[in-house]
């Protein structure tokens, strides 16, 4: 298992996506080299507290590539220090980025990619067709005429280069209420761009309107028809469809927490540690930041205990405990905390409930239709042998 350690290198971004949960983005909080170094020194000098086999050094923002000089320096230092200390993570690490893709082609980013390509994962977020993408993913600065300035064209031009460098590149799509009518066309569009793996999730925040679940189900069924009738299911994947979702869960044997908050670690520009980035102040609408330590004093292990003992049943309301389609229904610990009636991570937010149920119905339709087709074509056995697995999308 890998430890995920996230540097929030900046809280700035070129975009102002409408569904972005980062309510406190700003242009002032860039991580300094001194803070980054102090965080690295703390982490690497406490090897006994970080026993995971490998590590994913994650960089997020805002938009992380806006701070490419700092990131390059951090990564060079990490490599040097892991080697110098003979740390068990040396040669068992990855650098990971989620980027809006706008700066992907720039010389500094490209130089960084070439230098670190063997230990690098980069995901570019593109939401689908131009109209779907530009519905939410707009620049902070409007067009001169005052209209919204979508980012699609500045992202899509970098997709071929990205796929050339990361042939298995997957993209992450986020669905909010206004996006629902464009799901089908967007996934097919991403396939047409050469992206074979599309990971989608609905936002966990309470943004849903009455009737959204019906629209969502309809879109997913239309998409199911398109994927199956178009034969995409052999080489392409969409995380909406999974054979493992929509089943009841055993209260004892399947009582694990969904989210990895607390097992992960995030550090921000002020040198504060968080159980995940979602607990930093810029991510929270209602609650205070949930700080578990800092680069000077280290991690307060008492503050990690609630996260490491969290289980599904204790935080779930009765309707979730007895839900007949519970499997695959995700939650975000940070959103749970932010939406909770008290200052707790033990109250599961259920804004996503109807959307999950809609997904389960469409998912059932997808697999029934696909397997019937494969049976009739005598292809089922071969399909099952070769089918690609899509990891569940958690956040």
């Amino acid at each position: 298992m890998a430890k995920n350690i996230t540097f929030i290198v900046t809280k700035d971004c070129q975009l102002a996506c409408k569904y972005c949960y980062l309510v406190g983005k700003n242009e002032k909080e860039q991580m300094s080299w001194e803070t980054a170094k102090a965080a690295i020194d703390y982490i690497l000098s406490h090897e006994d507290e970080f026993r995971e086999e490998s590590v994913i050094w994650d960089f997020i923002g805002g938009e992380p590539f806006m701070e490419i000089d700092l990131i390059d320096k951090i990564c060079d230092y990490l490599k040097t220090e892991m080697f110098r200390r003979n740390h068990h993570w040396f040669n068992s690490y990855r650098f990971s980025f989620s980027t809006n893709g706008i700066n992907y082609h720039t010389p500094k980013v490209q130089e960084f990619i070439k230098k670190n390509i063997s230990h690098l994962s980069i995901g570019i977020t593109i939401d689908g067709t131009e109209r779907k993408h530009d519905l939410n993913r707009i620049y902070k600065q409007s067009n001169p005429d005052g209209s919204e300035h979508g980012s699609y064209r500045d992202v899509v031009r970098n997709i071929p280069l990205w796929l050339e460098q990361f042939p298995g590149g997957a993209t992450k799509v986020t669905i909010s209420s206004p996006d629902i009518p464009y799901i089908k066309e967007s996934v097919l569009h991403l396939y047409s761009l050469g992206i074979h793996e599309v990971n989608i999730n609905c936002v966990f925040e309470d943004v849903w309107q009455e009737g959204d679940d019906k629209l969502f189900e309809d879109q997913l069924m239309q998409l199911a028809d398109a994927i199956i009738d178009g034969g995409y299911y052999t080489d392409y994947a969409c995380s909406f469809y999974s054979e493992n979702i929509g089943k009841p869960l055993d209260p004892e044997l399947e009582n694990q927490n969904w989210c990895g908050a607390g097992k992960m670690l995030a550090v921000d520009a002020a040198g504060m540690f968080y159980p995940c980035t979602r607990f930093a102040g810029y991510s929270l609408r209602e609650k205070k930041p949930l700080i578990i330590g800092n680069v000077r004093d280290g991690i307060d292990k008492n503050k990690l205990r609630p996260f490491l003992t969290l289980d599904r049943m204790t935080q779930s309301p009765d309707k979730c405990k007895t839900c007949e389609v519970a499997s695959g229904c995700a939650w975000c610990q940070g959103e749970n905390y932010d939406a909770a009636a008290t200052s707790t991570v033990y109250q599961r937010a259920t804004a996503i409930c109807l959307m999950h149920k809609a997904r389960v119905r469409a998912n059932n339709y997808y697999w029934n239709k696909l397997y019937r087709k494969l049976e009739l074509e005598g292809q089922r056995e071969q399909y099952e042998k070769n089918k690609r697995e899509v990891k569940p999308v958690d956040c």
Binding site: Q256, P306, T309, D311, T344
Partner: protein, 314 residues
Amino acid sequence: MLQYLVILLDDTSTSYCHYGVNKKERRLISLDHLRQGIRFGMVENLMIQFVYPDYALPQEYLDVIDTIDHSNIKPMAVLDNDTDIVVLNSWDYDASKLKDAVVVLRTGWKQLNENHGMLKDLLAVVQRLNVVITDVERMTDSDREQYKTVLASLGKEVEQLYVDGKSPQFNLLTDRMMLTAMNNCNAGDTTITLAPNGKFYTCPAFYYEEESNSVGDLDSGLDIKNKQLYRLDHAPICRKCDAWQCRRCTWLNRKTTLEVNTPSHEQCVAAHLERNASRDLMLSLRSKGTFLPDKEEIKELTYLDPFEIATQWK
């Protein structure tokens, strides 16, 4: 289900638990709030416990208090025949005045280590002694080792009292032997507190430390959000634990781990040292003859903090 209502009669009412009283100005609860609080306790069928400051109350307050069956928690300074629980906030006390009393002794680690020898005489005269460690969350490695020694020493004293035919009640050593299940503070679950400002809190500590975090008031009633988190079945570490004498202080939980249902490492270790000392005491008493034959032996454990094995429970 609620069973107890604690009413703080004054902002300077004595602490009888882990928290400190950070309000220095006297402010009596208003007579109107006092009457309403008593009425609330009556209609909700709650046992009322009044917590007194260190000065005499006006007669009109005593008259109102006397309108309901209740218990009185008083500091040593106002100890009288009407006291049900007397609180000692220092080691400077006269044990002869505490004959057959139910006593709460509040102490820090340092003072306990220095003065624990005095407890022998106190245990010999009181009906019951609760020692409350006021800085349990600041336990150092040295405190832990000394606490182990202190408990072993006190165990010998308690054992001798039993041998002498007495039945001392001492929260740190005898409660675990007598219990058959968790017996915790249960603030927010079975107990609620009315503060002098007319608002409800899950316990007095929350009034002193997070005054804005009330859980209702006398006009609108109780409104404990996420009430289930105060119950044992919603405490992942505690519900599997057998340190049944632990106070399981939700305020200390909140202070140290940010969650009312999750204890700190220090609270768990302290409770397990007490549990293990109770085990040694029980074994020793049984080696001398029949002792609590209906009670199961306290098992030997390989850990002091159940968090260490918590991941195996999931």
